[in-house]
Structure formats: structure tokens, C-alpha cells
Symmetry: C2
């Protein structure tokens, strides 16, 4: 626990230094614009104009101010600026569930797009706790962020984080239950279709589907899209969809089920890379050769899984980084006065590897 010791600093000058600044050999007081102005021999107003390229100033004066700022190492106080301008050049990012494997690419993508717009990101980890979520929302509003991005693992559309908020909100990966809110999500059905079409293209016809829990939105939507894609070719699934968990263990177990029921499959589309990897292992142990006997497609394109799998795993990539970037871009657009509404589904990408190389 941090010792929250707000000790008084009213001790003799010889006392042990008590605050951070006192411990510096020479105290580094923050440089203000008035100091810059004084050094350049102008007023603060003029200094401000010089540094922000506003107003009518002689180029020579402008330069003098800039050099003074440079020499003093002046950095404008963001609080003072935003108090005046109303803009903070800051956005909040609330992750509904804990920060995890899926949040990172989203975060990186968003950070990428926002950094280009010179904006900083407040990261808030709500940990699936509505109380924490509302607390963070309040904090972000008090900090007067210019906008908010809400992310979370995708199960179902979530309740809007707030109504009639004074700042724009964009949902990334997860979507808002209010169709009027702006959400950016992966088109998972598209991903499933790409997987099936890829398997069909390499000549497979007896295709099974093994995926996560049936109550998980991603599992059901991928399953039904896969079934539709097969139906479009006049085919049906080589076995009933196997619902389980998003784990390697379940993949291994599912392989056992497929083998024992004697289902004659020549390909399996898996709901996640972990499931696919488990399946691959168990199939190999059973003497099946991948992809000769059974071709395999995963979902997520998670580097350590697709590369660790033997053979390397073909997988569907949801482009989470792109989703994060798009969400941030739409947020910026909204902030800049061109509001964006509605749900935006982004296509997936199939990354072929050895597990489907014929």
C-alpha cells in the first residue's frame, strides 16, 4: 500500500526534503509563458500568438519568442490551455472486460490513429464491473475528454455506456445495443464464409465445424454463416456443429468425438486458433496427416497459436488493429463536427498457411 503521507512542508529549511521538488538539487519550476514573454521582451498575449502562429506579428518578433521558448524549454500547460479553449486533445478508452489479448491490437490501432492527431489516450480498465465503469465514465467527463472509445470482448451488443453524454462515444469490437450509436465491429459472418470458401476451393467437401460455447454470440454467428456458405454450394455440414469452449483442451476432445463417431471429414473449420491447435494435435496423435487427410482453418490469427501449431495454421484475421484505428478515426471525425452514426462492420481476411496447403 502506498503510504499516502501528505506531510506538511512547514519545517525549517534544514529539514530533510519532503516533497519531490525539494529533493532536486536545483528546483525545476515549470516554465510559464510569461517567462518566455519576459525573455523575448513582449507581452504574454504576444508570446502566445507567436507560438501558435496567430495574430499579426513581425516575423522577427515571432522568431525571437520562439527562440526564447526554446532556450527556456517552454512547454505549454495543457490544463490552462484546455480551460480556455475547451479542447483537451484527449480521449478516454474504456475496456468493458479486463485488458487482454483482444484489447491490445484495438488499443494499438486506436493509439495509432489518435497519436497522428496529437491526441492522448486515457486507459480505463472496467473489469466487467458496472460500478467501475460508471466511475471511470465520470472521471473521463470531469477530465473533459474530447471523446470516448468503448471496447470489450465481443459477446452481444452491450447497453450504451450512457445516454445524452456531452461527448461523442464510439464502440469498438463490441457494439452498442442502440443502433444509432457508432460501433465498429468485425464482420464475423464474412470471416466464416471466407474460411468455408477457402476449404471448398482446395477441394474439401466434408467439412465439420468445432467452436466455442453456444451462448456466445461469436460462436453462433460463425456457425450459422459457415452453414449458409456450405448450403450455398448445395452442401451440408459433415457433422453437427460441436459447441464447447475456446480452449485447446476442447479442441483435443472434439477431435476425439469426430474420430469416434466415424464422421468422415476432410476439413474442420474451428471457431478459434486454440481449438484448431488442440484438434491438430489430437488428429496427429491419431495418425491423421494435416492437411492431406484433414485440412484445418482457425479463427483469430493469433501469432503464437498459428505458428506453434504443426503444421502452421491457416486462420481468419479480424484485423483488430484496423478496427481500433477505424474507431478512432470515426471518433475524430465526430469530434471535428462531422458526426458518424450506426454500426460499421469490417471484413475479415483469410491468412492461408500449411494447414490448408494442398
Amino acid at each position: 500500500m502506498s503510504r499516502a503521507s501528505y506531510r506538511p512542508i512547514t519545517q525549517g529549511p534544514s529539514a530533510r526534503p519532503e516533497t519531490w521538488e525539494e529533493t532536486l538539487s536545483s528546483v525545476e519550476r515549470a516554465v510559464t509563458i510569461s517567462q518566455v514573454a519576459a525573455l523575448a521582451g513582449v507581452s504574454t498575449g504576444t508570446a502566445s500568438k507567436a507560438l501558435n502562429g496567430r495574430g499579426a506579428l513581425r516575423p522577427e518578433t515571432r522568431l525571437r519568442v520562439q527562440q526564447a521558448a526554446e532556450r527556456l524549454g517552454f512547454v505549454a500547460n495543457a490544463a490552462a490551455r484546455s480551460l480556455q479553449t475547451g479542447r483537451t486533445y484527449t480521449v478516454g478508452m474504456i475496456t468493458t472486460d479486463s485488458i487482454g489479448r483482444f484489447s491490445i491490437p484495438l488499443l494499438i490501432g486506436a493509439e495509432d490513429a489518435l497519436g497522428a492527431g496529437q491526441m492522448s489516450v486515457f486507459l480505463c480498465d472496467a473489469r466487467d464491473d458496472p460500478i467501475r465503469e460508471q466511475y471511470y465514465l465520470k472521471t473521463l467527463l470531469s477530465r473533459k475528454v474530447d471523446g470516448i472509445i468503448v471496447t470489450g470482448r465481443r459477446t452481444l451488443a452491450r447497453a450504451p455506456i450512457g445516454v445524452r453524454l456531452p461527448v461523442p462515444v464510439v464502440y469498438a469490437f463490441i457494439s452498442s445495443a442502440d443502433p444509432d450509436d457508432c460501433s465498429v465491429v468485425p464482420d464475423e459472418a464474412d470471416g466464416a464464409r471466407r474460411a468455408i470458401r477457402h476449404l471448398l476451393a482446395i477441394g474439401r467437401r466434408r467439412i465439420a465445424h468445432v467452436t466455442g460455447p453456444e451462448h456466445h454470440h461469436s460462436a453462433t454467428i460463425r456457425a450459422s454463416a459457415a452453414a449458409d456458405a456450405l448450403a450455398a454450394e448445395g452442401l451440408t455440414s459433415a457433422a453437427p456443429t460441436l459447441y464447447g469452449e475456446w480452449s485447446e483442451a476442447w479442441g483435443r476432445q472434439a477431435a476425439g468425438i469426430l474420430l469416434s463417431t466415424g464422421a468422415d471429414v476432410d476439413a474442420v473449420f474451428c471457431g478459434s486458433d486454440q481449438i484448431a491447435r488442440g484438434l491438430a494435435e489430437a488428429l496427429r496423435d491419431a495418425g491423421r496427416v494435416i492437411p492431406r487427410d484433414v485440412a484445418l482453418v482457425g479463427f483469430d490469427n493469433w501469432d503464437v497459436m498459428v505458428e506453434g501449431c504443426r503444421p502452421a495454421l491457416t486462420s481468419v484475421d479480424m484485423d483488430l488493429e484496423g478496427i481500433g484505428r477505424t474507431a478512432a478515426e470515426l471518433l475524430l471525425q465526430t469530434i471535428n463536427g462531422d458526426p458518424v452514426r450506426g454500426q460499421h462492420a469490417r471484413p475479415c481476411r483469410l491468412v492461408p498457411r500449411a494447414s490448408t496447403a494442398v
Copy 2:
């Protein structure tokens, strides 16, 4: 790309709404403390005191102000507050390399400790680019953060991010080359010793070590600590340390080397869980039974790896979340006037699983 359309808003009232706020049916202007004060029938100063529990006020007045604030949904403007108080209740977190698997637990731990202190985190991803790093540093300083946490994948001590900064800095996971700076790092030697002692405790004597690249600080320090731990028992390594990559592929390859050289090993301590998992797979394929023939210990305790491994992998946990938490706590302590200096090494923890269960 975001259309950075800073359009003028000087159009007739009938024009299409151009800014975010105009698109709200009723504009939600932020509530200020003067509005609260007016509603409560007091001055702004009094309102401030009432809401912050300061000054001498009648309980009844205090309550009246609080109720007014509640009714209006008042949230204090953080910029105005910090302009006055000098505190922002914000810290910056700069990740030297990109946000990745190691950063997340650090981030969560830090967020945990800071959130408890009501502080928010600015996340900055420097992506191994010194320019970006300095840019972010400047941004954080302009935002007057109360402190900075610097993290990054651990190779060697890094150059201090800045000298004589006006705010305290704590390095987490990575350490600063200046021994006077405050760094919180895992005691990797301790982790290696625990691994070896555990293997010795279950009766193994012919222990090999397979790890990452020799130029990687973590690899060499773990290797030498392991050798020392063996020497302490009068033993030597069963085979020369095998340096390679931090990957499953290298683990598989290393297994081949150990098997082909006929080294008679009954245990392998691996520099990472990925290496261990690769090794486990290859050993199994070669007919070796784990842990009966060969016991296995990994490093990192990365959930998906230790659980995906067959059998489940015993591993050394560096407690990254604890490191993040500690770093944040030391930072808070320093901010609160009780400066902390020097390098703090935190012990590791061995998590035994089936791969060493005798």
C-alpha cells in the same frame, strides 16, 4: 484517414448541425460550480468548500450544496482544478517497446494501484522509437502528470528517459542505467534458482538448460543463476546451455539436439514457456514420457502455454502484475513527498504442475 474537417460553424441556424453538441436535441452544457452555488444560494467559494469538505460551514449548508450538485449532475472540471492546485491526479505510462504480452500485466497492476489512489493513466506506446519516446515525454510534461512509469521488455538497463525531470519517474520491469533512479524488476536469478531447486527436490540430477538468445540479458542471467544453483549442490549441468530463440520451434529443435547428442538428461529447465512447450512436444514424439523420463520447468507462467502444454507445465512466475503494482505504489509514495530511489528486485514464484509431478 480521418477527415480533419474543422468546418466553420458560422451558418444559419437552419443549417445542418456541424458540431457534436449541436446534434444533441438539447445541448448538454457542462455544469459549473457557479450553477451549483446559485442553486444552493451560496457563493462559488462556499460551494467549493462544501463539496471538498473544507472550511467552516454549517452541516445544513454543506448538505444543501451537495444536493444541488447532485441534482445538476455536477462534475468538477479537472483542468481548472489542477491549474489551481498543481496536481493532476494523472500519471503517464510509457512502454518502450510496443504494448505486448508483458506490458499487459504490468499495466493492470499499475492501473490497480493507481486507480485506488483515484489517479488516471495516460498510456503511451513508444514502439522502440526514441523520437516517439521523447515526443510522448514532452506531451506528458505539458499535461503536467504527477509522475511517469516507464516499462519495456527486459533486455538490459536502459538509458534514463530524461535527466532532472520536474516529475518523478519509476521504471517497471526494465531498469534504468542510473542506479539512483527507481526501478522495480523481477529477480530472475531467484526464479532460476527456484526452478533448479525444485527439480533437485524431486530427485533430478542430470539437468539441462535451454533458453533464448545469448545476447539477451534475461537468458544469460537465468543461465548463470541456474549453473550456480547446481554448483551449490556440487553438480554441473548435464549438457552445455543451449542458446536459441524464445520460440516453440527452437524448443523442438533443442529437444532434437539433446536427444541426438545422447545427453542423459532427466530434467530440462527452459528459459521460457514457449521453449518448454516445444521441447515437450518433441520429447513426446520421441517416446519420452514427461515427467517420468524428463521433468520440465518453463519460465513466464503464461497461461495459454502452461495449460496448452501436455502435461501441464510447471513454470516460474515473475509476478508482473505485482511489479506493476509495486512500481505504481513507489511512484505514489514519491509523489506524496517520500522519495524512493534505487533498484528493487522482486522474487519470483514457482508454480508446480504436472510436468514435474512425480
